[in-house]
């Protein structure tokens, strides 16, 4: 073997964190849990295939989940003691159990509309997912993109206004993507040509976009919303047969085009990034621009296009906010989704698929907060909303594992 065998010690952070969470579930959702049955509704009334509801005792679910989670923590500990990494599948099951027990706890004496919650979480996550894809493209090529928020807002605004004025959703989507791409070009030009600080330019672009959209919203859209800001939403497309599958069908295959676009873009970006020449070069430029230069790759041009196309994708995410969900543009309606996308990029370690899963976590927390307020008004829903942010903090300070950004991100490359 030519490769050096590096003796890295696997830390005990994973089993510790898992055990702590498992214990919380066992004690608070289980032993000290709430009385009553949680009724998991698998099928909706309109579904073709009807499956019966699954009623489970809320606290029993907590106890069972908690014990299983502790078992998984134990498994993780067992692996760690043998200096092996905790398995991804075990973390996935762990997370699934945690979510199920949380739902069950909240819904004591109530119903859990499973496909409604999952479907809404997905729809809410789409802008974050697409924003994060824009962020991944930008940062993988070595440019920090704090302007995702501005790109989402631009896309949301253009999609709503252009769709209303032209009556064409297609034109609306195209203009959303083009406008957000133009915004990205400003970032790219400032970063690559003027060597301005990327973080500052990003923040400032957000301020500018908020200013422009607020002004136009106030000056135009509120005066004459009928003719400027009344696009409605895209039609919901049902994919035949696939949409009849219980749970998965309504969640994945009965959606607007924006959701389908996200479901396609994420794997597509993964493919381009890791399986094609373009992706290899972009990653090289983001990691070690000088090395890329010495093999004849144009660093500035590569960065320019990755940032720009990333902006277009984020713009589509913006369109998903208006014509893909709300049906009209609202003041500062991106409401921090761009910053969440930024966090999601880091949480997903600059990987399109992991980032999208992290975005789903945020989408889930938003719908959960709304739903929790309905089924159990006494629950402090602010805490539920807080969870993803706290998870992000825990992740970046290294409890979940060191996240390593592309090495040359935010570092301007000046040819020697």
């Amino acid at each position: 073997m030519s490769s050096l065998v590096t003796e890295t010690k696997i830390g005990f952070k994973a089993p510790i964190v898992m055990a702590a969470i498992g214990l919380v579930v066992l004690v608070f959702f289980g032993l000290l849990g709430r009385d009553g049955m949680a009724n998991f509704q698998i099928s909706r009334r309109q579904d073709a295939i009807q499956l019966p509801d699954v009623p489970i005792d809320s606290s029993l679910l907590g106890v069972v989940s908690g014990i299983l989670m502790l078992a998984l923590a134990g498994f993780s500990l067992w692996l760690t003691l043998r200096n092996r990494k905790t398995r991804m599948w075990s973390i996935s099951i762990f997370g699934f159990l945690g979510i199920v027990s949380l739902l069950g706890w909240l819904a004591a004496d109530n119903s859990v509309p499973v496909s409604f919650i999952a479907g809404t979480a997905l729809v809410l996550a789409v802008p974050i997912v697409l924003g994060a894809m824009g962020g991944v493209m930008s940062e993988r090529s070595g440019i920090t993109n704090i302007a995702i928020e501005g790109q989402l807002l631009t896309g949301a605004f253009m999609a709503a206004v252009v769709s209303t004025i032209t009556g064409s959703f297609t034109l609306g989507i195209i203009s959303a993507m083009v406008a957000a791409a133009l915004l990205s070009m400003i970032l790219a030009v400032f970063a690559l040509r003027f060597l301005a600080q990327q973080i500052i330019v990003g923040v400032v672009l957000n301020v500018l976009v908020i200013g422009v959209t607020n002004f136009l919203y106030q000056q135009w859209l509120t005066q004459d919303s009928e003719n400027t800001n009344f696009p409605g939403t895209l039609d919901i497309i049902k994919i035949p047969f696939l949409s009849d599958i219980p749970i998965i069908g309504p969640v994945l295959f009965e959606n607007r085009i924006t959701v389908f676009a996200a479901l396609l873009i994420v794997p597509a970006l993964w493919f381009v990034l890791f399986k094609t020449k373009l992706g290899l070069r972009a990653r090289a430029v983001g990691e070690h621009p000088l090395a890329a230069d010495t093999v004849g790759i144009n660093v500035a041009r590569t960065r320019f296009w990755w940032v720009t196309i990333g902006g277009a994708i984020a713009g589509l995410g913006g369109a998903a906010l208006t014509i893909g969900n709300a049906g009209a543009f609202g003041r500062e309606m991106s409401g921090g989704f761009g910053f969440i996308a930024l966090a999601v990029v880091i949480l997903g370690r600059w990987h399109p698929i992991s980032a999208s899963l992290a975005a789903l976590l945020f989408g889930f927390s938003i719908i959960l907060r709304v739903w929790a307020n309905q089924v159990s008004p006494g629950i402090p829903s602010d805490f539920i909303t807080m969870v993803p942010y706290v998870v992000t903090i825990i992740a970046v300070v290294g409890f979940v594992g060191k996240s390593r950004p592309p090495k040359a991100v935010a570092v301007p490359y000046v040819k020697g």
Binding site: S3, T276, K277, L290
Partner: protein, 501 residues
């Protein structure tokens, strides 16, 4: 392929890095380019590789004139380069690194990694490299990374291979293996340019030797030439840098270093159980070729770099400063002139006056409680500017705007004006004009005569001989000998090459 450089001249501003250099490398020849640090070897090779454009002269390959506007052109023409700092992406696999920029692709630009992997395996097998195409670069030892660089060049059909200081980072065994590889490549018809300053290696592997000094070709030699002969060619005639100084009058013990070991940034043992003592009123020079652990040793003395736990002790007088922080070391009475003044010695945006109080910001003659004593600072700064002949408009001018020599005078003025027992000066005259060199040298001797202990770290033999009262030569992290300044250049050269006297 035959490579010919004709009259290559490259200037940076007023500095002439290469002056009309001629060089011919025949097919299958290992041609060593020998010279000290800063002699202009790397500049020449960057011109060849298209990273720099020559101001004058031309490059010929098989007698055809070439025009390179970037590394891409040079690679296409058959030139491969293994840079001193590897141009590899740490998080990529070997195959990905080799493919980068020259990717085998299928439909939609998909990477055919299998093909790239096969390419690595083929070349690896042909030369017995034993490189795993799927290993991540960051997991590989330096020697293997270098082979990846060679594979990268060969996979692009390089007929001329430039190796820039390839042994600087290698262990002795890895060096021997590299030499075998070089011989093999040459046997297969590749022309090799081997840039180095290590005499032993040149003698062992080169077919032909060209020596460069101060940007000019000063001669050529065959590998059968004696080490002495090569050393004097490389180092040159004695430049008259004589400093008037009386014999040293060593007094009390100031610094004692006992069996200290230090790791470098790559966690390799850069300083290996080094021991020495320095007394008040003497200058101990630490000589040696760059990269033999001097930098790390100096940093360890200051507390910038930890001494390996339990390896040894550093004592200042009776005080153990092995684990002291930089601040504690400075306050204990150590002055430090860092090797890289732009990075470690100065804040370019600060004024000259501010730079003069850089390491006296806690409690000193520059401060009054939590306030900066502006009046005192101005006075001290103006006096020091005068005393050390710093050429600046005012002491409020930013230090970044001064010339290299004057910047160094600011650093020296700052360090020598503090009350200290020990001065550690690393490369105090690197990149400094001759006038300033003389001035700085005189000041260092004056410090000694005032009864301070001085550790001078220098790769310049002239400087070492001009200043030292005793010379410690470092080689591969060890002190191979401590000799008097009357030792001949050739004996010193041998010590620096690791040959015990």
């Amino acid at each position: 392929m035959k490579l010919e450089l004709r009259g290559i001249t490259k200037r940076f501003g007023t500095l002439v890095a290469n002056a009309s250099i001629d060089l011919t490398v025949n097919p299958g020849e290992i041609h060593a380019l020998l010279g000290e640090n800063g002699a202009g070897k790397s500049t020449l090779m960057n011109v060849l590789y298209g990273l720099y454009t020559a101001d004058e002269g031309e490059i010929l390959l098989d007698d055809k004139v070439q025009k390179f506007s970037g590394p891409g052109d040079a690679m296409a023409a058959g030139i491969g380069m293994v840079h001193q700092h590897f141009m590899l992406i740490p998080v990529f696999t070997v195959a990905e690194n080799v493919a980068l920029g020259n990717e085998p692709t299928g439909v939609l630009g998909t990477l055919k990694l299998a093909e790239a992997r096969q390419r690595v395996l083929d070349i690896s097998k042909q030369f017995g490299f034993n490189v795993d195409p799927d290993a991540l670069i960051e997991d590989l030892p330096v020697g293997i990374q270098q082979r990846v660089e060679i594979i990268k060049a060969l996979s692009r059909d390089a007929k001329v291979l430039v190796l820039d200081e390839p042994t600087a980072v290698l262990t002795p065994q890895e060096t021997d293996e590299l030499m075998d590889i070089m011989r093999q490549l040459a046997k297969n018809g590749t022309s090799i340019v081997f840039i180095t300053h290590k005499l032993r290696e040149v003698k062992e592997v080169a077919d032909k030797i060209t020596v460069i000094r101060l940007g000019k070709v000063v001669g050529s030699a065959s590998p059968s030439a004696s080490t002495n002969e090569l050393a004097s060619l490389m180092v040159g005639r004695e430049v008259d840098l004589k400093v008037d100084k009386a014999p040293a009058q060593p007094k009390d013990l100031v610094l004692s270093v006992d069996a200290v070991s230090v790791l470098d940034d790559r966690s390799q043992r850069a300083v290996d159980s080094v021991s020495f003592e320095v007394r008040a009123g003497e200058i101990l020079a630490i000589a040696g070729v760059q990269g033999n652990g001097q930098t790390e040793l100096a940093e360890a003395l200051l507390g910038l770099r930890p001494v390996i736990k339990g390896s040894g002790t550093i004592k200042l007088g009776d005080k153990d400063i092995t684990e002291a922080s930089v601040k504690q070391v400075l306050e204990a009475g150590v002055a430090f002139v860092p090797e890289d003044r732009k990075k470690d010695g100065l804040v370019a945006e600060f004024s000259v006056a501010e730079n003069l109080m850089l390491d006296s910001s806690f409690k000193s003659r520059f401060t009054k409680g939590l306030n900066i004593n502006l009046k005192a600072r101005r006075k001290i700064a103006d006096d020091l500017v005068q005393e050390f002949d710093v050429r600046t408009q005012t002491s409020d001018s930013p230090a970044g705007k001064l010339s290299g020599g004057n910047q160094q005078k600011v650093v020296v003025a700052r360090e020598l004006s503090r009350e200290v027992k020990l001065l550690v000066a690393s490369q105090p005259t690197r990149g400094v004009d001759v006038g300033s060199i003389e001035f700085i040298h005189e000041r260092i001797v004056a410090e000694r005569d005032e009864g301070k202990a001085v550790v001078l770290v220098s790769t310049e033999l002239d400087e070492v001989l001009a200043l030292a009262d005793r010379i410690a030569v470092m080689y591969r992290g060890k002190i191979v000998g401590i000799v008097p300044p009357t030792t001949s250049r050739s004996d010193l050269g041998k010590l620096m090459a690791g040959v015990s006297a």
